[in-house]
């Protein structure tokens, strides 16, 4: 069976508790000892490894030897898209939070680097700045509004 995590393609086949994997022309033998509640006791090429795996839609959270990786599983046919592609002048929320201050209105001229709004979450404030000179074409948010990560906030157009 072919699987794709991030940019890495691998092939896995199983025979009961043993597995054969191929990855970058390497062949790996693995065996599963015990697994429950997101914990897997494995033997990978004769080395004992305890792994913790959680599944969250296409994401896989994997911790091995104290290090946690977030892998994105894709179909394998082609590389999965790296998120939604936004238009050049669209500014998105870098984190989930609340709009604390909105300094511009639609139609305002802005200069590159100008602080357009302030987003607050937990204990921190993030200033969202204009990515280019232009005018505020559209505001998608209001002061006080709660936004999600990656949500489009403002569209800046050319003068």
């Amino acid at each position: 069976m072919k699987l794709n995590f991030n940019d890495t393609a691998l092939d896995i086949s199983s025979n009961g508790k043993t597995f054969t994997l191929t990855l970058d022309d390497k062949t790996i033998h693995a065996e599963i000892g015990h697994g429950e509640n997101g914990r897997l006791d494995l033997l990978i090429d004769d080395k004992r490894v305890t792994a913790y795996v959680s599944s969250d839609n296409a994401r896989r959270w994997v911790t091995v030897n104290g290090q946690t990786f977030v892998l994105t599983k894709s179909s394998g046919a082609r590389r999965g898209g790296h998120g939604h592609h936004h238009a050049a002048g669209e500014l998105t929320a870098p984190m989930p939070g609340q709009i604390r201050a909105l300094n511009v209105s639609e139609g305002d001229a802005v200069t590159k680097g100008q602080t357009l709004l302030v987003l607050e979450a937990m204990k921190m404030e993030i200033r969202v700045q204009a990515s280019m000179d232009g005018v505020v074409k559209k505001l998608f948010i209001k002061q006080g509004q709660t936004v999600e990560r990656e949500q489009v906030l403002i569209e800046i157009g050319e003068n």
Binding site: H34, G38, S54, T63, N65, T68, K73, M95, T146
Partner: protein, 495 residues
């Protein structure tokens, strides 16, 4: 002793206080916002009162609702924890007016010390060294003039502040106005008070604070220092005691200054006197006093051998200390790491979501104070602190090793954490040598997140994918079942 206490807080500190209450045979009342209906602290209490919406101002910062909740449940005292209303003098006064006991110092002590401007003036009078700066400024022009007088870089901070909120470092004049505005806004939001002061920014300093404790009979002592120099955005991330920087003489001198600072405001209950120390000259300056229990209080508990929350409650109930300063010595070494739901690889931006796995380490000398469990939701409304991991060992080197091992056993899935970052700090020679200053993370520490997943991680993910029936389909079922694909599985042992 009290029969029932209301805890006006949430998360790990509310739980830690409830544990102390249970040990002392005191019943507990939790308060909670809309966002915390299912929070762990609510489950830990014997009673729980809903006090408002998720926005702190309408719940955890709402004095009237909290006092009403205490009255409604016949609680006799209120423990404020840290943050929220813990350093709000009007709250302490309102609690007293309602004929309830505030578990903390007097409203006057809070007012005097909570005001960074007034406390500086008091400390100067008491002969405690302070950082050069100005207090009581109002107009833009006054700030501009004072800034020019002090010189850049300088520090703008909320007069009512604490915990890095409402604080900005300004490197040049053109950054002053915006720093003032955003500090003011943050201060207003966090403390309901927008006054600011400015002072010289002393870079490359150590942050060393002293735990002080007084009873209501006027006995006051200190429980040694905490070294809190590992910070990001003025927020502590690793704290330890003892500090490698202090000589026995300096420790004694600073401890004496801390006690004098507390005495200057007639202090009782637990408090922390913060100093910055110049590592080259070993000069120390009073920074501020936090008139509450500190996040990092566990390291002091382990090394000084006193349960600070027990004694907060006992002192509030009128008990006199059965001990004096000479009873206390520093035993071994303790370190605390703060596990935050944040991504160090993208400027420590907060990370929110549902905890798919949350598994705490156990073992000799390991303590975890946490407010979360598997399945809990980390929201953007509150502090991103997930847990405090605290270790105690006979010496510093052993404590570091113990912390490194314990961190490896702390499994958090569902939000990005700073665990890798903490590990990198602990493994750094500057940390081993005790040479970390408060700006070290920003200026001296180059850290990049491991970009390529390890081979073992890929293998484990692949095996998980085919071992569990149905897991090879990318599903959107996690809303209902965060443990998926595991929970439904019974196939591992015999597959």
């Amino acid at each position: 002793m009290f029969k029932k206490i209301l805890i006006a807080n949430r998360g790990e500190i509310a739980i830690r206080i409830m544990r102390a209450c249970r040990e002392l045979g005191i019943r507990t009342v939790a308060v909670y916002s809309d966002a915390d209906k299912n929070a762990l602290h609510v489950q830990h209490a014997e009673e729980a009162i809903h006090i408002g919406s998720a926005v702190p101002k309408e719940s955890y910062l709402n004095v009237d609702k909290i006092i009403a909740a205490a009255k409604q449940t016949n609680a006799e005292a209120i423990h404020p924890g840290y943050g929220f209303l813990s350093e709000n003098a009007s709250f302490a006064a309102a609690v007293a007016s309602a004929e309830l006991t505030f578990i903390g110092p007097s409203a006057d002590s809070i007012r005097l010390m909570g005001d960074k401007a007034e406390s500086k003036i008091l400390m100067k009078q008491a002969g405690v060294p302070t950082v050069p700066g100005y207090e009581g400024l109002e107009s833009e022009a006054e700030f501009q003039n004072a800034a020019n007088e002090i010189g850049y870089p300088l520090l703008v901070k909320a007069a009512a502040g604490g915990g890095g909120k409402g604080m900005r470092v300004v490197h040049a004049q053109n950054g002053l106005q915006e720093a003032l505005e955003s500090a003011r806004r943050e201060a207003l939001n966090a403390f309901g008070d927008e006054r600011l002061l400015i002072e010289k920014y002393i870079p490359n300093a150590h942050h060393v604070e002293f735990q002080v404790f007084g009873d209501r009979q006027g006995n006051i002592l200190h429980l040694f220092e905490r070294e809190c120099s590992v910070q990001r955005r003025h927020q502590k991330i690793i704290e330890e005691t003892p500090s490698s920087l202090l000589t026995p003489e300096l420790r004694q001198e600073m401890g004496k200054a801390a006690v004098e600072a507390a005495q200057a405001v007639g202090y009782y209950n637990a408090g922390t006197v913060e100093f910055i120390v110049d590592p080259d000259t070993l000069q120390f300056y009073f920074l501020e006093m936090n008139t509450r229990l500190q996040v990092e209080h566990p390291v002091t508990e382990l090394v000084a051998g006193l349960d600070l929350v027990h004694w907060q409650i006992r002192v509030a109930a009128g008990e006199r200390f059965p001990f004096t300063q000479s009873h206390f010595t520093q035993r071994g070494h303790a370190i605390e790491c703060r596990l935050y739901a944040e991504d160090p690889a993208s400027g420590f931006l907060p990370s929110t979501g549902k905890l798919l796995q949350f598994s705490e380490p156990h073992g000799p000398g390991i303590r975890v104070d946490s407010g979360f469990t598997t399945g809990a939701e980390v929201t953007h409304f509150y502090d991103p602190l997930l847990a405090k991991l605290i270790v105690h060992a006979e010496d510093r080197e052993t404590a570091i090793q113990r912390m490194q091992a314990a961190l490896k056993d702390f499994i958090v899935h569902g939000v990005v954490t700073n665990v890798d970052f903490l590990q990198a700090v602990l493994a750094h020679p500057d940390f081993a040598n005790g040479e970390v200053t408060t700006r070290w993370v920003e200026t001296n520490f180059n850290w990049t997140a491991p970009s390529e997943p390890s081979l073992e991680a890929l293998v484990a993910a692949a095996i998980a994918e085919i071992t569990v029936p149905g897991a090879n389909q990318v599903s959107g079922s996690n809303e209902a079942d965060p443990y998926s694909p595991w929970k439904s599985s019974n196939g591992f042992r015999n597959s």
